[in-house]
């Protein structure tokens, strides 16, 4: 799919321009039409695509300019979901937790427009990564008023997401990333998640399927995750100081590894030297051909300038290592 060593990529989200957030607020207050919001999203997407190209990434997207929250975005589009209001996540932080109030029905295409737009405005030699929230995480972060078990809900969502991925494939998408941040929070359910992921990628023939997980005690879900039917795992490492890298070495890592080598929770920018050292830690787990380079997670909570600098340094680190390796 990509012939360079150490392809560089993002997980998904990028800080939004302040004006986009403002336009969205005004749209919610009915002071700005949907058309104007769409225009603002288009503009923001173009800017972020351009910014990530300038950072030198090989694989990227629009920084999820059209998405506010990773569960809310999809639940809002799937018929059968309803939002009653925000619910506390911690302290004074609330999240619009959706409720399944009817059996879920097939949604209209959710991401195809977004993909086609990004494809059109990114250079042809670049690859667009499409992040999509996985069935387990959507189910885990929903109220379930309808299905008898959480498992039933998860598998219904897996069908829906599978359908969407196939639409994306038909539209020309080559790289799909399933986001399952909830995966490592309940290690006892790793088998259930695996079955759901297999269902999610059933019959999918894109070049690359990636599973992203973060906040994880990866040692507790390893090596079980190697059975998941995906090509790559993009995981968080920098934030916890590569705490789980040794655990991954205990068994042969039979997939590609997307190595989280810059921290998305600290705005201070890692030096090229530090990132190179981080990447070398990834090489303790997989061969150079199986290593992709990415930040730990989405960048959206960082200040804009440090996001850009982090990506630039990450690209430079990969570049220098390529030259040293070949």
């Amino acid at each position: 799919m990509i012939d360079t060593l150490f392809p560089t990529t993002v997980i998904g989200s990028y800080p939004k321009p302040k004006w986009l957030n403002r336009v969205r607020e005004l749209n919610k207050e009915d002071k700005f039409s949907d058309k104007k919001l769409k225009e603002a999203e288009d503009d923001a997407a173009k800017i972020i695509i351009n910014e990530q190209e300038r950072a030198g990434l090989d694989v990227f997207n629009d920084g999820e300019m059209r998405r506010e929250e990773m569960v809310e975005f999809f639940a809002d589009k799937i018929p059968g979901y309803r939002f009653y209001g925000p619910v506390r996540v911690w302290g004074n932080n609330y999240f619009n937790k959706p409720s399944v109030v009817e059996e879920l029905r097939a949604p209209d295409p959710m991401l195809v427009d977004e993909f086609e737009f990004n494809r059109k405005f990114a250079s042809k030699d670049k690859i667009i990564k499409v992040p999509i929230t996985g069935p387990y995480t959507i189910a885990e972060w929903s109220f379930n008023e309808v299905y008898d078990t959480k498992k039933e809900l998860i598998f219904r969502l897996a069908e829906i997401i599978n359908e969407e991925i196939k639409r994306l494939e038909d539209a020309g998408a080559r790289c799909i990333q399933i986001d399952e941040p909830a995966l490592s929070t309940r290690p006892e359910e790793v088998e259930l998640v695996g079955n759901a992921i297999d269902e999610t990628v059933e019959g999918v023939n894109v070049d690359k399927t990636i599973l992203h997980a973060c906040y994880g005690k990866f040692s507790e879900i390893y090596p079980e995750i190697l059975d998941f039917d995906v090509d790559q795992f993009a995981l968080e490492f920098a934030n916890n100081n590569f705490k789980y890298i040794d655990a991954l070495k205990e068994y042969e890592f039979t997939k590609e590894l997307g190595l989280g080598c810059v921290d998305v929770h600290k705005s201070s920018v890692e030096s090229v030297k530090t990132i190179k050292e981080n990447i070398r830690r990834g090489l303790e787990v997989v061969n150079p051909e199986s290593l992709w380079i990415n930040p730990d997670c989405g960048l959206k909570l960082l200040p804009k300038s440090s996001s850009f600098k982090k990506l630039k340094n990450m690209v430079k680190a990969a570049q220098e290592l390529r030259e040293e390796n070949i």
Binding site: F83, Y84, G85, P86, V87, R88, V89, W90, G91, N92, Y94, K97, S99, V101, E140, W141, F143, N144, E145, A182, T185, R186
Partner: protein, 318 residues
Amino acid sequence: MTDVKTNVSGFFPRPPYLREKLKSIGGLQKESMKEETKKEIIDYVNRARNEVIKLQNKANLDYCSEGQLLWDDLLAYPATKINGFKMNGLIRYYNTNRFYRTPIIKNKLKLDNDFIIEDTKKAQNISNLPITTLLPGPFTLLDLSENKYYDKSYDAINDIKKILINKITSLEDLGIETIQIDDPSITKNFDGIKRVHRDLKDKTDLTLIINTYFGDATPIFDELNDIVDGIGLDLVNFESNWEILKNKKTPRVLKLGLFDSKNTRVERKKKVVREVENILEFIDSEEIIISTNLNLDFLPWPVMEKKIETIGLVGEEF
């Protein structure tokens, strides 16, 4: 004859205006808050407290919760008022998708600022219903904190106990008759349950209800039942708690968690009425309280309203 009463577990979701206000000042636990800002927050909290107390009065519940609108979680609010705790990073709250800040015990725990008392007084002034107050349980407070000071957890729990006794005594002076002690960690069956809860009970005449959730109460039920006035059980998530009701002698006051705070589906009145009728046949408590299984802040505001209304309607059937 068993009296049938109603209430909720407290801990209300914050209404939007209070959330926005707190967001604009960057959180509650700021040390260097201006007096002016403090006053402003108090006004917003008063308004929200009024609102949640009105809801409970309107639904004709038998007891009214103060609301705990200032509490970020079960631990943060008390821990920031007790000397010896320092707040640390976020950790998953039991088996939920919620997080709480871990209190670290860095020094001998001593009561520092007042908490709960002023809020309770305000609630009493605006409610026609008797107020139940909420306190964090000693085992939960210790279990979810990180102890970096005490050599023996025995000493830590003793100091926590002293603080709670101080609070219970002050609340009794205010005329409070019932205190709900949320002690979810107690179901992990720690040593000393009997001793600690007996000591709390011995110092007061008011009714202490030890509220359990996030765990099966079976292993600790008998031990607890010997000494306390009241126990709360989650009857939604723990089938085994129904067995307790059927097979064991039940306490004087029994709080029945029949309404689920963790699902937006609103319970059918008739179904709950049948459940209560059924329970009345095999228990010997003086009083049962039809209630939610746990904190209301797991629910969005409109669903919380609907559930309170339904609890009131169920209560009217008895």
